[in-house]
Every structure is written in structure tokens, then in C-alpha cells.
């Protein structure tokens, strides 16, 4: 199949990129656009490590075709702060010890961001529900939940 020229708006920047239809958004973000903060773990929708935000909703980039998300607002972890200047949510993750190996972290942060953007003062249950699709082996999740609640408090 021939490559198609598609336009992807990632973190506010419009990229024009040639891709065949069978490329997932995850592959295009990582392999062609260099957004390696989006992690490639299970690749079949089981773990949430590749979570990105599209039009305000957390979705899995491993199950999304790149060609079908043109004209949409795609946010990856790179849209938030960088290592020197983390945004408030990322800072809460760091301060609360919600980061260990860090492989689930970008997806986890984005699931949390999608929640807080929509619901700045979530209940505990809403926090848990928002990250229930993001697996973490290191932390046991308690500090992740704490970090998101901490960010919600600091945001208010």
C-alpha cells in the first residue's frame, strides 16, 4: 500500500508525515516523529503505557491508526513539562514517590491529566478508575493515587 501524506497535530505542532495506513499512532509518534516518551510495552491494549490524549480523552496509541487521527489534537507526555521544569502534575508524581522504574509513568501521567482536565477535584474512586487501565509493577499504585490527589489539591 502506498504511503499517504498525513497531517498530525502533536502538542500543538503540525507534522506532515508519509505513512502507510497500517501504521499505528504509537509507531508514527515514536519511529517517525521522535516522541519516544510514549512507551511501547504490550502493543495490544493491555497495559496503558502508550496512552496519549486525543481531543481531551485518554486513548491507547497502540490501537489507534495514525491515518484516522488527522485534524485532531494529540497530546503526548512531551506536551507537559520537561525534566528541568516539570509541570505540577509531574512534580506531584516525583514528590510523592509515584515514579520508580518510570516505564508506565508517561502513560500514567497522561491518564491523570485527562482526568484532572475534565474533573479538577476527583473523588478517590474517580482517580482509581482513571488509572485502572494503566499497569504498574513497581509501586503498588498507592503513591500514584496519592500523587494525583496531591496535584488536584495543588491545582485548586
Amino acid at each position: 500500500m502506498l504511503d499517504q501524506l498525513i497531517h498530525l497535530k502533536v502538542n500543538g505542532t503540525l507534522h506532515t508525515v508519509a505513512v502507510p495506513p497500517h501504521r499505528t499512532l504509537l509507531e508514527v509518534l515514536r519511529e517517525q516523529l521522535g516522541y519516544t516518551g510514549t512507551k511501547r510495552a504490550c502493543r495490544v491494549g493491555d497495559c496503558g503505557a502508550c496512552t496519549v490524549i486525543i481531543d481531551g480523552k485518554a486513548v491507547l496509541s497502540c490501537l489507534t491508526l495514525a491515518v484516522e487521527v488527522q485534524e485532531k489534537e494529540i497530546l503526548t507526555i512531551e506536551a507537559l513539562g520537561d525534566g528541568d521544569r516539570p509541570d505540577l502534575l509531574q512534580q506531584s508524581f516525583v514528590d510523592c514517590g509515584a515514579v520508580q522504574c518510570g516505564f508506565c509513568t508517561p502513560g500514567m501521567v497522561l491518564s491523570a491529566k485527562a482526568l484532572l482536565d475534565e474533573n479538577p477535584q476527583p473523588e478517590r474512586e474517580e482517580v482509581r478508575r482513571a488509572i485502572a487501565g494503566n499497569l504498574c509493577r513497581c509501586t503498588g499504585y498507592a503513591k500514584i493515587v496519592e500523587a494525583i490527589e496531591d496535584a488536584a489539591t495543588r491545582l485548586s
Binding site: 516539570p86 522504574c101 518510570g102 488509572i131 499504585y141 503513591k143
Partner: protein, 777 residues
């Protein structure tokens, strides 16, 4: 411990910001110009002879740059010890488990590499497979390695004290069989390697390794390249838990494909490959016979185990030895007999996993202790307090307990669990009808080696460079696979040199630059590398002191380093900034560069794999866990809403990191107890994805986890610290299983605790009770 400026504080980890920002680079995030993508062809049979491999079609496929098979590696084999080298980079002659690596391809992109795999033709002669360890040990079972008769990979038979006499003296003896299933490490970052071969003989490899220097030696041997030419650079590691210790086929293949193609090659496994054919924890059958006095005093253990080793030995000898060692602790058991066999089977290779061999044995021993307590009408807390090891205790087998806060951990754990309020022995509850949700509490204790002693190279070395602006680099070969050791080691440097944590930079391991190190396993890093770092920091400080003494015109003994200042203790106004001292040191006189160095290893004899005599590590941690469970008596579903960890870790170098270790241990332990299981059929894993396998989500782990640190200031570890990341997972299983018994009166001795098993156990108990009643006149 307020005398410390940095240590003992809840400091966020130094690599937190880059990880949260997504800019921390893992192996899969790296690429090089001209890089090829590698893929591995795996065996569809659990046991088969390879008759022929035809790679012609794959080689001529457009975009393919190299294809390799077992022959490319000659006769190279690898393994922990000279007599256990039974693993191949790619299968030679036969395949021994389903998913074993048979060939590999490098191509211009992943799609092409995958297409090429389909073009490789392999003819197999299928052999009878044996996937059950007990079957494998039976006479006449198919032989997995021709030179390993009886399919015995490891056999350790040993005895201390007089076990037979102890049983004769025992008032009560109990014998039970326990089974711990096949579970996976569960890291989210699949194994990956990026290799660059530069002719004539240089290897550079970026690979996700807990122990980079194992692979460094492996590659030197495999490719006949001097060690100085093996450069292993360690990117961030997305979790290891024992599944990223040494070299694996993915690493060897990446290098060989690069050598053959002349291009850099990256191989990243899929999660399906990791779950179906990579390493896992040893499934283990444990028969445990225990003799006690009427009052619950432990007299003897007689234990037999069969561990399912899979098709290779890996670090299996240490797993079996650990199982033996931790029959001797955390309780005083004066007489211990052990017969441990690790059997080869046609299954993926079993290796270490957080707690290496100890989970399985402590599950058996600590559940059986509760059984005994119940049989004798004793209290589970009291029986643990009575039998607990203590500071100064030496096991009959020769393990020296130099610090022990076991009793304090019991006290703290039951206090936090509100034990007195919630615990009622089952015998008091058994006549009450079970509600829909039955609740119970349980405890279990643990001990673990703090800094495993190896055979061969054992010590850690640290090098500290003080830069002229007052910042510091710490070079260490100890890796941080997520546990936070990088932060803790940097804190030690900052403490000694009186700088701040942010002034210390820890470059990731690079075998050309950082000192050789055993790596991250056996709970070594904080305790063992920590001591090396402490010595190195003191060495650097000593060098700086000389200059400071001249500048401040004071005796070196009177000078203090704290918060970026160097000053005379009794006259703090006589001070200079640390950065000025650093600059002046470079310029002073003829000038000098401050490089501190330190090496430290446990000063105990190497592990004795034959008899198990002596120590397993430099020190021992102790701990207690309490679990609160809810059992749905209609579905059998068990949940653990609350769990307490009280751990004697010597000294909490960083309490925030410690909590993370405790909570992570609970996560792995709850998964192992209730959720996780590789369901297999003829050597094929039917659950090779995280959903079918059942890695716990946020809803499946205790919402409330209490982490308590008991500080005993160990004489061996750096600043008195002992391990806190593995022992804490050892007692999770028995604490939960004991709590289930407390809730519903049944003993689950076969893991995982699936709802169906719980329901069946409840039914069986009811039927038994009915039969007993009916049998009465």
C-alpha cells in the same frame, strides 16, 4: 538520626523528573544511523531435534541484511557456574522449550524482519516433551540435556543438627505439601538490546540489564573480544525484578546480527515473547515436616523440594541454596535437613525473581507455622515471638545474625494492624455462620540476605570525581532498575562530602568507564555498593581535607563538611564554600584532581552450594507482614484491602524510597498469591498477555498499605542499612494465606488462591463437617 544532613530524609528520587517528563531514555528509545531491526524466530515445539534450517529465502528477501542461526555462535554456552553452562544464544541441535530462540533476522524495518522470519524453514523431529518436574525426574523420562542424567539441574542435600533425634523429642509433628506456581517478573519494559559491532573486534551495546557486567563477560567470551573492547552502556531500565539480570539470546543475537550486517541492530521483544518464552520464577513443590514442643518451640525442619527449572540452569543453584538458607531464618530452628532438586523440564527457564527461592519456602514454612499454632491451640503472634531469631544468633548452619529487630517488627505490625481488635482465632469463630463476606487477619515473618554473597567476583567499587565547581560524579556499576538505588547512593556521597543531593550526578553504568560490579540482585546495592560509595566518598573527603586544613589553617580533624560549606567545627565563621575548596584543590600548589575510590564486599566465604554451610549474605533483614482479607463466601473471591509491612532494614537511608519498596513488594506478593499464573498446556503458555496473565490493576491491590521501618543499625551495612526490597515480598504470601484461614477456616496450600479453589475448599470443609456429624452416633 538527626545528625545526618541528607540521609534519612524523604527525598524524591533524582531521576524522577526525567522519567515523569518522558525524556528518560530506555533501550527502545535509542536508535543509531543506519540501524537495523532484529527479530527472533522461536520454536513451535517444546522438545524437538532440529534437522535442518534453511535461511536462503529469508536472506534473499529484499531489505534483509543478516540472518543468523545457532551455528553462528559455534559451541558457545553460558551459565552461572562452569558446570551449569547449558544455555545457548540460539538453539543448537535441538530445542528444549516452546519459544526457544532458533534463528534471528536483521532487516531495514520491523515489518521486513517479520516477513523474513516467515521465510525461514526449519525441519524438526518432534521429541516427547516433559513439562512436569516430577515426571521429568522419573526413570525413563525423556532426557532434556544429554549430559545431565535424570534431568537433574541442581541437587543440594544437606543437614545440620540431629534432625531424627529432634523429631523423636518433638511433642508434635506435622507434614504438608505446598505448591507455588509459575509467575512472571511483570516488568513493563520488554527486554531489549541495541548493539553495534565495529570491526575488527569492538562491541558497544545498550541493553536493559540489572547486572550489566554479567553480559559484559558473556559477550567477551562469546565473541572472543577482550573485555576492554566490550562497552556496555546501561540506559534506564523499565523494571527488572530478576528478569533482566544477565545475558539473554536477545543480547547475543543483536551483537551477532550487527557483526554480520556491519550495521547497528536493535531487538526489542514483544510482551508476548517475554511472557511466553522469557524467564520466570521457579514453580516449586515443597514437602515440609516440622517438629515442635508442646509450647510451640520449633525443633526441626525436614524439607524436600522439587523446583521446576525449565530447560536451563540460569541462576538456579542460588535459588535452591536460598530455599535452604531461609529454612534457618527468621526463626530459630536448631535442626534442619534439606533435599532440594531443581529439575530440567521442557519449559522456559526459571530464574531469580524478587525473593529468589525464598518466597516459595517461606510460604510453606510460615503457613505451616500457623497450622501448627492452630493444632496446638497457640497464638500465631506468640509462636512467632517465641521462635524468632535475635541479634547474636548463629544458625546451626552457620548464618550470623548481627542485627535483628524481628520482635519489634512483630509488635509494630500487629499494632498497626489493630490485631487485638480484629483477630479472633478460627477455633473461636468456627461455629458461627459465615456471612457473605468473611474477614480475617493473618501475619507472617521474613528474613532475607542483605547483599547476597557470590562465588567469584563479589565486591562493589565506586569512584567519585569532584569537579572544580563543587559538583560530584559517582561512577558505579550498580544499576538502578527502578528501586531508587541511584538516589540512595548519591545521598551517601552528599552526606559525606557535605554537598546537596542535586550536586551529585550518577552517570549510568558504562563498562568502559564505571568499575566492574555484580549489579542489582540479592538486595546488594544499598548495602554493598553503599559501603563502597561510603569508602570512596571518605577517600575524596580526605583529599579535600588536606587542602581545607591549609586554607582554614586548622587541624583536619576539626573541619566539618555540611550543606556546601567547609568549616571549623568549633569556629564556624572560619569557613569556605565547598565549591571554592574544590576549585582551590585543583589549583593548589601543583594542583590535583580529587578522585575518591572505594571497594567493599561481604567479608564472608563464598556461598557453599554443596552443603549450605555458612552465610548467605553479609547481613540479614527481618520483617513481619499483616494482611487483612475479605473473602466472598459465595464466589470464593479474595481481596486484600489492607496490608502492613514492618521491616527491620537497619537504617532507612531514604524513607520515601523504602515505602516504595514495601508497597511494590506487596504488589508483587498479592499478584503471586491471588492473581498471577501462567496457565500452560504441553509447555505452551496459554496466557502470554498481561490481561490473560492477570497483572494486578489499581483495583486489585490493597488500597491501604502501611509501611513501617524498624531501625537496628546493622554493623555491616552502610550507615547501618540493610535490604528492604525483597524480604518484604517474602512474607506477603503466607500473611494472606493465613488471613484467609482466619476468615473462613480453610488452608490453601496450592497457589494461586483462585476463587474456585477457595470455594471448593469451603465445600469440602462443609462436606467433611457433615460427614463427621452424620458419623456420630
Amino acid at each position: 538520626m538527626s545528625e545526618y544532613a541528607v540521609l534519612g530524609k524523604r527525598l524524591p528520587r533524582v531521576d524522577g523528573p526525567v522519567k515523569a517528563a518522558g525524556t528518560a531514555r530506555f533501550t527502545d528509545d535509542l536508535s543509531l544511523p543506519g540501524m537495523l531491526h532484529g527479530k527472533i524466530l522461536r520454536s513451535p515445539h517444546a522438545h524437538a531435534r532440529i534437522l535442518r534450517i534453511d535461511t536462503t529465502l529469508a536472506e534473499s528477501h529484499p531489505g534483509v541484511r543478516a540472518v543468523i542461526v545457532g551455528e553462528d555462535f559455534g559451541d558457545y554456552r553460558y551459565g552461572l557456574k562452569p558446570d551449569t553452562r547449558d544455555e545457548y544464544p540460539l538453539a543448537r541441535g535441538k530445542v528444549r522449550y516452546l519459544g526457544e530462540e532458533v534463528a534471528a533476522v536483521a532487516a531495514v524495518d520491523e515489518d521486513t524482519a517479520l516477513e523474513a522470519l516467515e521465510l525461514i524453514q526449519v525441519d524438526y523431529e518432534v521429541l516427547q516433551a516433559v513439562t512436569d518436574p516430577e515426571e521429568a525426574l522419573r526413570e525413563g523420562a525423556p532426557l532434556i540435556h544429554d549430559d545431565k542424567p535424570g534431568n537433574i539441574s541442581v541437587h543440594m542435600k544437606t543437614s545440620f543438627g540431629d534432625v531424627d533425634e529432634a523429631f523423636r523429642q518433638a511433642d508434635y509433628i506435622r507434614e504438608d505439601r505446598f505448591y507455588s506456581q509459575s509467575v512472571l517478573h511483570g516488568f513493563l519494559e520488554p527486554n531489549a538490546a541495541l548493539a553495534l559491532w565495529e570491526a575488527p573486534n569492538r562491541i558497544t551495546i545498550w541493553a536493559s540489564k540489572q547486572s550489566p557486567y554479567f553480559l559484559y563477560r558473556n559477550l567477551s567470551n562469546c565473541f572472543n573480544v577482550p573485555l576492554s573492547n566490550v562497552r556496555l552502556i546501561q540506559p534506564y531500565i523499565g523494571g527488572g525484578f530478576g528478569g533482566k539480570n544477565g545475558g539473554y539470546p536477545v543480547d547475543f543475537c543483536a551483537v551477532m546480527l550487527s557483526k554480520k550486517s556491519g550495521r547497528p541492530v536493535r531487538i526489542v521483544l514483544t510482551m508476548e515473547e517475554v511472557l511466553s518464552s522469557h524467564r520466570r520464577r521457579h514453580p516449586m513443590i515443597v514437602w515440609l515436616k516440622t517438629g515442635v514442643k508442646k509450647d510451640g518451640t520449633l525443633l526441626a525442619h525436614d524439607c524436600r523440594i522439587i523446583a521446576d527449572g525449565g530447560a536451563g540452569t540460569g541462576v538456579g543453584p542460588s535459588t535452591i541454596a536460598n530455599a535452604f538458607y531461609f529454612l534457618n531464618l527468621p526463626y530459630v530452628v536448631p535442626n534442619v535437613r534439606f533435599d532440594g532438586i531443581r529439575a530440567y523440564t521442557n519449559r522456559p527457564i526459571s530464574v531469580a525473581q524478587r525473593g529468589n527461592g525464598i518466597q516459595q519456602i517461606r510460604f510453606a514454612a510460615d503457613v505451616q507455622l500457623d497450622m501448627i499454632a492452630e493444632d496446638l491451640g497457640r497464638d500465631p503472634v506468640e509462636i512467632r515471638e517465641k521462635n524468632g531469631a535475635y541479634t547474636g544468633y548463629k544458625t546451626t548452619s552457620g548464618m550470623h545474625v548481627k542485627s535483628c529487630g524481628l520482635r519489634e517488627t512483630i509488635t509494630e505490625a500487629i499494632r498497626a494492624a489493630e490485631w487485638e481488635t480484629h483477630y479472633r482465632p478460627w477455633r473461636e469463630k468456627m461455629h458461627e455462620p459465615l456471612g457473605r463476606i468473611a474477614t480475617g487477619v493473618g501475619i507472617a515473618c521474613n528474613s532475607f540476605e542483605s547483599g547476597a554473597r557470590l562465588t567469584g567476583h563479589n565486591c562493589c567499587t565506586a569512584v567519585i570525581k569532584v569537579h572544580e565547581d563543587g559538583t560530584v560524579s559517582l561512577l558505579t556499576g550498580s544499576t538502578d532498575s527502578g528501586q531508587g538505588s541511584e538516589t540512595v547512593l548519591a545521598m551517601i556521597v552528599a552526606e559525606v562530602l557535605g554537598t546537596r543531593l542535586e550536586d551529585v550526578f550518577v552517570p549510568q553504568t558504562d563498562s568502559s568507564v564505571t568499575p566492574v560490579d555484580p549489579g542489582s540482585f540479592g538486595s546488594r546495592v544499598s548495602s554493598t555498593a553503599g559501603n563502597a560509595v561510603l569508602i570512596a566518598a571518605k577517600d575524596a573527603k580526605q583529599q579535600l581535607l588536606k587542602v581545607a586544613a591549609e586554607l582554614l589553617k586548622a587541624d583536619p580533624d576539626t573541619i566539618e563538611f555540611r550543606d556546601r560549606k567547609v568549616f571549623v567545627r568549633e569556629a564556624p565563621e572560619r569557613s569556605l564554600r565547598f565549591r571554592d575548596l574544590a576549585r582551590q584543590t585543583v589549583a593548589w600548589g601543583s594542583g590535583t584532581t580529587v578522585i575518591g575510590q572505594g571497594s567493599w564486599g561481604q567479608s564472608i566465604p563464598p556461598l557453599n552450594f554443596e552443603t549450605g554451610e555458612g552465610d548467605a549474605g553479609g547481613a540479614y533483614s527481618f520483617g513481619t507482614q499483616a494482611a487483612w482479607v475479605e473473602v466472598d463466601t459465595r464466589t470464593g473471591k479474595v481481596t486484600v484491602p489492607r496490608m502492613v509491612v514492618a521491616h527491620d532494614l537497619g537504617f532507612a537511608l531514604n524513607p520515601l524510597a523504602v515505602e516504595g519498596q514495601h508497597e511494590g513488594s506487596i504488589a508483587g506478593g498479592v499478584g503471586h498469591t491471588i492473581y498471577e499464573h501462567c496457565v500452560e498446556e504441553n509447555g505452551q503458555n496459554l496466557t502470554p498477555n498481561l490481561t490473560a496473565y492477570g497483572l494486578p490493576t489499581v483495583y486489585d491491590l490493597p488500597e491501604e498499605m502501611v509501611s513501617l521501618s524498624i531501625e537496628t543499625i546493622d554493623p555491616v551495612g552502610a550507615f547501618g542499612a540493610k535490604e528492604s526490597g525483597e524480604g518484604t515480598q517474602v512474607s506477603t504470601i503466607p500473611a494472606i494465606v493465613n488471613a484467609i484461614h482466619n476468615a473462613i477456616g480453610v488452608w490453601i496450600t496450592d497457589l494461586p488462591v483462585t476463587p474456585e479453589k477457595v470455594l471448593k475448599a469451603l465445600r469440602d470443609k462443609k462436606a467433611q463437617a457433615r460427614a463427621t456429624t452424620e458419623g456420630q452416633p
